[in-house]
């Protein structure tokens, strides 16, 4: 929300109702006290803080929300939800918007985090038990940040941490089929943002 252009306010509440239904939270209950932003460990790096996200939903600013980096930087530490005086699960609200952005294939404002999660998620049916080398390696390649955390590599090798790999699991094939079934179920359902 860097621009200072006037926002046209209308009674349109579809977006708010959508978020309310999928997150199960009372968006209008938020009285904008800011305790969430004040306690958020990643607020310093966000385009807009959690409080502003709540305000944006109240005002129906759908596009701004889908394009902000807030929904990607949120690590779901739940500090906001735990302390909110109106008992709103703000992390859950973030989740609803993030999943909507994924569904609508909006270009993520933080592409690195989006890539990381996609890689991790795709490694689960392949490896069954995910190990950091595969994860880190794949991430570094695909995100085109080949030097990320490489400073730590030598010491990891010396300490024998790199060679520690989980034993393969016989459950991997089960997991693979779960992924297939889930994808199908998701496609079949009308709205697939939450269960």
């Amino acid at each position: 929300m860097q621009t200072n252009e006037s926002i046209a306010i209308s009674p349109a509440k579809q977006f708010r109702l959508f978020v309310e239904e999928h997150s199960g939270q009372q968006i209008l209950s938020c009285y904008q006290c800011g305790k969430c932003t004040a306690g958020c460990p990643l607020a310093y790096a966000m385009d807009i803080g959690p409080r502003q996200v709540m305000r944006a939903i109240q005002l129906g600013l759908r596009d701004e929300l889908l394009h902000c980096n807030t929904i990607w930087l949120c690590v779901f530490c739940q500090t906001c939800s735990a302390r909110c005086p109106r008992q709103i699960d703000i992390a859950k609200v973030m989740e609803s918007i993030r999943l909507l952005a994924i569904k609508e294939k909006v270009r993520p404002a933080d592409k690195d985090i989006a890539i990381f999660h996609r890689i991790f998620f795709s490694l689960i049916p392949r490896l069954g038990r995910v190990h950091e080398i595969a994860l880190g390696g794949a991430y570094n390649l695909i995100s085109r940040h080949p030097l990320t955390n490489t400073k730590l590599l030598p010491e990891m090798i010396i300490k024998g941490k790199l060679l520690s790999l989980p034993t393969p699991s016989k459950g991997t094939s089960e997991v693979k089929s779960m992924f297939t079934k889930a994808k199908k179920a998701t496609r079949e359902r009308e709205d697939d943002v939450t269960i």
């Binding site: 009285y31 904008q32 006290c33 800011g34 305790k35 969430c36 932003t37 004040a38 306690g39 958020c40 607020a43 310093y44 807009i48 803080g49 409080r51 502003q52 500090t79 302390r83 909110c84 005086p85 109106r86 008992q87």
Partner: protein, 665 residues
């Protein structure tokens, strides 16, 4: 033979706008037992009432039905009207065709009219079975009991006493004064709190019509309006106040020092003590939990093992008038009162649940009331505002509003009303104490609705230079000798961090400890936060649903001092009004037990919320129930609970209600 007259009111267009009055009059004329029906634009007006009176006389009516507004509005008025025409006032029935008809069915005139006619039909059927009823008279004791010696109770007691009636003021602490005595200055005038309070406290002590009982509690209340029987427990002070002169030697020399409740933990008192210098009475009590000699006596009595406590008794040895009385026991005094005023006040919210603020772990996080004690020149630090951790003067002070208020997460969703104001006051006073102090206030909204309150906030912002930041604080953590306060300024839209020397939490108000037990003893209602409930939030702010019991002050909800004083006076006016009567009239719409049908199961005793039914012995020795008219509210629960159908409700008898139902077919 019933001769019913039906009077239908237009109420301007309130009723006539949605109901066809002419049709109603026609229908009424055709109803059984109706010998007269008419309509009027404003029945409650002088001419309206006159026409009813005339109609009763001219048509020899012996039952009256008025179809108009809710009985809550004008039933009393119309009862007087029929009485003035020579009829018993309980031969009147009202059909509510306004609140229960025209006002809610304004979009369907046909249906509204049909319903209004039905309502009149029912009222007519009931009226034909009305019996004359006669109110009872009871005597009343013109003595008032005020429970709680804070500013509201003090005001109430003084006003009732000045109106010429005896008052007993009961206070469970050793002194009256309440929380106002703890304050340094009051907003918005910055009057010294003790200076305006202590004259009233002294008036209480010296007033010939006021009996002050401090260090006393209410054990039990029985009875009803005009006739309450109360057991007051005078707790054992272990000091004979009739001998004590208040010289102060004992509490100055007592070696046992304990954290003072009055100083909210920032100061100490002795085991024999007065809570503060201007205490009324200025005579001490002994805190038996901490007194060394009492502990010694317990040790010896119970044959305990380990180190024997000292046999102290220094107070006894030094007392020039031998006022110490170790044998003194709690005393139960039974007294009669005609009215009770409950002024139990509030207690400050305990912020222990705010662990994100490090309450109880970080010593420099204190509450507003603790700051008051520090700022007070007669307080534990003689007015020096110092950090609890190292005794230095803070230069950067952060105030956090809404601690324990507007916070559903911590179980307190309401606004405590006074915190915005007292926080502004604190920042102004801090600036007076030390011009180099910078205060910051984290707020969500500023509530400054009283007279001169808005100007007071501006004074804090403009004159005292207090920086107001809109946002709640999420976390406080220590860094070296400082506290880092993490909040947000939602107006500029950025998280903010402040390095503070001292953090003051603006804690809210909650009901006093033990108020629920008292409420249950008096049958008073309370809300989910345990605040006592008034009879009507708008129109009856100092009465309760229990006749003769009044409320005043912050026991009802958060309020400031002027409101508490006004409340106290209002409650006193109610009491004086009550006491201006020689006899009390009890409405006869009460339940009556037919002893011939009663089997003595006492189900009525169990269901009645007002303790009206009592167990009695009939002449033949059987157990039966008897209903005390003065306590009965006519709610009808006992009528329903009564298995043999022995109870009937006067004015709403079983055959009357059946007649109403039958009339609709």
């Amino acid at each position: 033979m019933a001769r019913v007259g039906v009077f239908i009111c237009h109420c301007g267009t309130n009723i006539a706008g949605s109901v066809n009055i002419d049709e109603m009059v026609d229908a009424a004329n055709k109803m059984p037992s109706v010998v007269y029906a008419s309509d009027n634009k404003y029945t409650c007006s002088e001419p309206g009432q006159a026409s009813i009176r005339q109609a009763i006389i001219d048509n020899r009516l012996n039952r009256v039905v008025i179809a108009s507004c809710s009985p809550r509005m004008h039933e009393n008025t119309f009862r007087r009207t029929v009485t003035s025409a020579g009829l018993n006032s309980y031969l009147l029935e009202m059909a509510n065709i306004r609140e229960q008809c025209s006002w809610v069915h304004s979009n369907n005139k046909e249906a509204a009219t049909a319903k209004a006619i039905d309502l009149v039909r029912m009222a007519v059927a009931k009226a034909t079975k009305d019996e004359p009823l006669f109110p009872k008279e009871v005597g009343l004791t013109k003595r008032a009991l005020v429970i709680g010696g804070g500013i509201a109770g003090i005001q109430a007691a003084l006003d009732i006493a000045n109106a010429g009636h005896d008052v007993v003021l009961v206070e469970r602490e050793p002194s009256i004064g309440g929380h106002m005595a703890q304050l340094d200055k009051t907003f918005p005038t910055l009057d010294c709190s003790a200076c305006i309070l202590t004259p009233k406290m002294v008036d209480i002590a010296q007033h010939p019509k006021i009996t002050l009982r401090t260090y006393a509690e209410i054990d039990n209340v029985q009875g009803y309006i005009g006739n309450f029987h109360v057991q007051i427990r005078q707790k054992a002070r272990k000091v004979d106040h009739s001998k004590c002169t208040g010289c102060g030697t004992c509490w100055q020399k007592c070696p046992e020092k304990i954290s003072s409740e009055f100083d909210v933990g920032v100061g100490k008192r002795s085991a024999i003590y007065i809570p503060f210098a201007q205490a009324v009475p200025t005579k001490p009590v002994i805190d038996t939990e901490h007194c060394r000699y009492i502990k010694y006596l317990q040790f010896v009595d119970e044959g305990e093992e380990g180190k024997k406590p000292a046999e102290c008794r220094i107070c006894e040895k030094l007392c020039p008038v031998s006022a110490i009385d170790w044998e003194q026991q709690d005393q139960i005094l039974t007294e009669d009162f005609g009215a009770i005023v409950v002024t139990t006040g509030f207690k400050p919210f305990d912020p222990q649940v705010y662990q994100e603020y490090g309450v109880g772990r970080i010593p420099d996080v204190i509450t507003g009331i603790q700051l008051e004690r520090l700022m007070n020149a007669s307080g534990p630090t003689e007015g020096e505002v110092i950090r609890p951790s190292d005794g230095t003067h803070p230069k950067s002070v952060v105030f956090i509003s809404c601690v324990g208020s507007r916070d559903d997460e911590k179980g307190r969703g309401y606004c405590s009303k006074i915190c915005c104001m007292y926080t502004a006051k604190h920042t102004i006073m801090l600036k007076e104490h030390d011009p180099e102090v910078q205060s910051y206030v984290f707020y969500i909204d500023i509530r400054a609705v009283g007279k001169d309150y808005e100007e007071f906030i501006r004074r804090a912002q403009e004159e005292a230079g207090t920086i107001y930041l809109r946002g709640r604080v999420s976390k406080i953590h220590r860094k070296g000798a400082k506290l880092i306060v993490q909040g947000e300024d939602s107006l500029i839209g950025r998280p903010v961090e402040i390095e503070a020397d001292l953090v003051v939490l603006a804690t809210g108000m909650e009901p006093s400890e033990g108020v629920i037990e008292l409420a249950q003893g008096l049958n008073l209602s309370h809300d989910s936060y345990n605040f006592l409930m008034e009879a009507h939030p708008k129109l009856r702010p100092v009465e309760t649903h229990i006749d003769g019991v009044f409320l005043a002050g912050s026991c009802i909800g958060p309020r400031d001092i002027p409101e508490c004083v006004a409340h106290g006076s209002a409650a006193a006016a109610k009491v004086a009004g009550l006491f201006s009567q020689e006899k009390l009239v009890i409405e006869p719409l009460t339940a009556l037990v037919d002893p011939l049908k009663c089997v003595g199961c006492l189900a009525c005793v169990q269901v009645c919320p007002f303790n009206a039914p009592e167990e009695q012995k009939a002449r033949d020795g059987r157990t039966i129930a008897y209903i005390n008219d003065a306590l009965c509210k006519g709610c009808g629960l006992c009528v329903v609970a009564c298995r043999p159908g022995a109870i009937n409700l006067r004015g709403f008898a079983n055959d009357q209600l059946l007649a109403e139902v039958v009339s609709l077919w």
